[in-house]
């Protein structure tokens, strides 16, 4: 059995397990939809320049996408690790040919598929209920790559959190603690101009910043995105490696 077959086997089982948990599926898609409706349609940017959001509606498209590429992998992979650990599944898997890296890769693929679909839904919803306009260009084809890399990055981070936390509750708490600051301080919903200068290095240190910058350069303000893609790819590889190392093998 090849590595590919093992990864596909694990991914198939993980996908089936997830898709049969209807509540989890519903809220995975409903959570970002709520955010779009609240912030994009109700508390939206006013034509006169008023409202909570100061930038044009299209500016916030990366922010809405960031909600799913950040929160969902962190909580899903972290919880899955806690669930595997509690159920003795890692003990069992440790005696099979499946490696920790293959396990994480399989669950990352499932997350990429789920979050890819959620991102598509969000993009359509943002365009439908806000004044945002999408810049149509060949670069739009790279948008899924940004989404996939960001999901992979946060799957890796989720694996680390899952390994460090000693329970599913702990994973959720840790995920929220990490994700909330990242979401709002990574050039997603809060423009850097609104932040103090001394804080900007922290913004630059956030992996999500490169996702926001790159996707914004594709969907809203055409500009260079290759550098952001490269940084995101490198960070994704690093966090995946770290996450694979963190996935428990023994008790």
């Amino acid at each position: 059995m090849s590595r590919t077959s093992r990864v596909l086997t694990e991914a198939t089982a993980a996908a089936r397990s997830f898709l049969r948990r209807r509540t989890a599926v519903f809220f995975t898609f409903f959570f970002p939809v709520i955010l779009v409706v609240i912030f994009g349609a109700l508390v939206r940017t006013q034509p006169t320049g008023g409202g909570l959001f100061a930038e044009p509606a299209g500016y916030y498209i990366p922010g809405y996408l960031a909600v799913v590429v950040l929160f969902t992998p962190l909580s899903r992979v972290g919880s899955e690790i806690a669930r595997h650990r509690d159920g003795g599944r890692f003990e069992k898997l440790a005696t099979t040919p499946l490696t920790r890296g293959e396990w994480l890769l399989a669950h990352t693929l499932v997350n990429v598929a789920i979050i890819g679909a959620a991102s598509l839904l969000i993009l359509g919803l943002v365009l439908a209920v806000t004044d945002a306009a999408l810049v149509v260009s060949p670069a739009l084809l790279v948008l899924p790559v940004f989404v996939a890399l960001a999901v992979a990055l946060f799957c890796g981070l989720g694996a680390v959190l899952g390994a460090l936390a000693d329970s599913q509750d702990g994973v959720i708490a840790a995920s929220n603690t990490v994700a909330l600051p990242l979401l709002f301080l990574s050039e997603t919903f809060v423009p850097p101009a609104l932040l103090p200068d001394w804080f900007l290095p922290a913004v630059a240190a956030s992996p999500l910043t490169y996702f926001a910058r790159g996707t914004r350069a594709i969907v809203h303000e055409p500009g260079p995105w290759v550098g952001d893609l490269a940084v995101l790819a490198a960070l994704a590889a690093g966090f995946l490696a770290l996450g694979a190392y963190a996935v428990p093998r023994t008790d």
Binding site: A14, S17, E91, K92, T96, T250
Partner: protein, 359 residues
């Protein structure tokens, strides 16, 4: 040293050689601690090829930790060789594991679970054949979470044998399974053993281990207390046949016990005079009080009538009689110090084990 006991030289290579060919599991001085708690304290264990090796012991004795150490799912000190390799280097295709606490993805069907775990191996058995082996063929399309406890455990057993392992670790495989389900698992283990699979079985069901295991190791407080064939362990540590006499009313006082004991002395005398033999020798008959009545030790089946007559003549009225041969459970209770002894107020003191050469 008693052949069936072992503290330092528990299951030797000689034992393994007797049980099969080259040993497939060798553990020497295996130690594992969790903080200040010592789970394994220098365990020596050897399992021969094709052997069904039973591991018994009280909760917390270290059974699961030993399984984890041997399967490489926990790090332990000492020398461990499994199928000629260290646990972490052994070919996973050749190992099967049913962890004690195992809860696979709950929203996969039994068939999907077996297919899933089989899909992780280079070479796996037919899913339907595996399901049939564990008696789950008719319920294979139900989600795992909707199965009964016994069906769940049988499905878990199926995931452990789907790769047709040479060495199978079953950590309490029949927990929560009804008698029919247990029998199907027993038959499965017997079939696997007959086909040459080495089985490392831990269980709290003594009858199960007595029936299935070629050799048994008894673990207590992280150390091997005894190891040997079930029959040998029973002969050495199981005690003698006993007759439980349930007495109507309050438990016998010391006076009644003395009276009954005196009556049995008479029976012993009669036996030596040519009456039906009730014990190996008259001196072997012993009587002790229990919570419900009396226990007469050393009684053979053909001597039950004589004992009853003697008790009747002594004025001891009883409600029921139960005769039992010693079993592996008696060995377990005695060597773990959990033997029920109303007079002693609990377990057998440790120093009583010295007679058997243990620890």
């Amino acid at each position: 040293m008693n052949e069936t006991t072992a503290a330092s030289a528990s299951a030797s290579a000689t034992d393994a050689a007797e049980a099969g060919d080259a040993p497939v599991v060798v553990g020497e001085g295996v130690r594992k601690s969790y903080g200040d708690v010592v789970a394994l304290d220098g365990v020596d264990v050897t399992v021969g090829e094709g052997e069904v090796f039973g591991l018994i012991g009280p909760n917390g004795a270290g059974k699961t930790t030993l399984v984890r150490a041997l399967t490489g799912t926990t790090d332990a000190e000492g020398t461990i060789r499994v199928l000629g390799s260290s646990p972490s280097a052994v070919d996973p295709q050749r190992i099967g594991l049913l962890p004690q606490s195992f809860d696979p993805p709950e929203r996969l069907t039994a068939r999907e679970l077996v297919d899933y775990y089989g899909g992780l191996y280079e070479d796996a058995r037919e899913v339907e054949a595996v399901l049939d082996d564990v008696g789950m063929a008719d319920d294979a399309d139900a989600w795992y979470e909707t199965l009964s406890g016994g069906q769940k455990r049988r499905t878990c057993v199926a995931t452990a044998i789907v790769n047709d392992p040479d060495l199978l670790f079953l950590d309490e495989p029949t927990t929560g399974i009804d008698p029919a389900g247990r029998r199907s698992i027993h038959r499965l283990v017997e079939r696997l053993a007959a086909a040459g699979t080495t089985v490392f079985l831990t269980s709290h069901a003594m009858d199960e281990v007595e029936r299935l295991a070629d050799r048994v190791a008894l673990l207590r407080d992280g150390g091997v207390v005894a190891v040997g064939a079930p029959a040998d362990l029973i002969a050495d540590h199981g005690g003698r046949p006993r007759l439980e006499v349930e007495i109507d009313g309050s438990p016998p006082d010391d006076g009644a016990l003395e009276t009954a004991s005196g009556a049995l002395d008479g029976v012993g005398t009669a036996a030596t005079a040519g009456e039906p033999e009730i014990g190996a020798t008259a001196d072997e008959l012993e009587i002790e009080a229990t919570a419900d009545g009396l226990r007469v030790l050393g009684v053979r089946p053909e001597g039950i009538g004589a004992v009853v007559d003697a008790l009747g003549e002594a004025g001891v009225e009883f409600e029921s009689l139960t005769w039992a041969e010693p079993s592996l459970e008696d060995v377990y209770l005695r060597l773990t110090g959990e033997e029920y002894s109303p007079r002693a107020g609990g377990g057998v003191p440790d120093d009583s084990l010295d007679d058997g050469g243990d620890r």
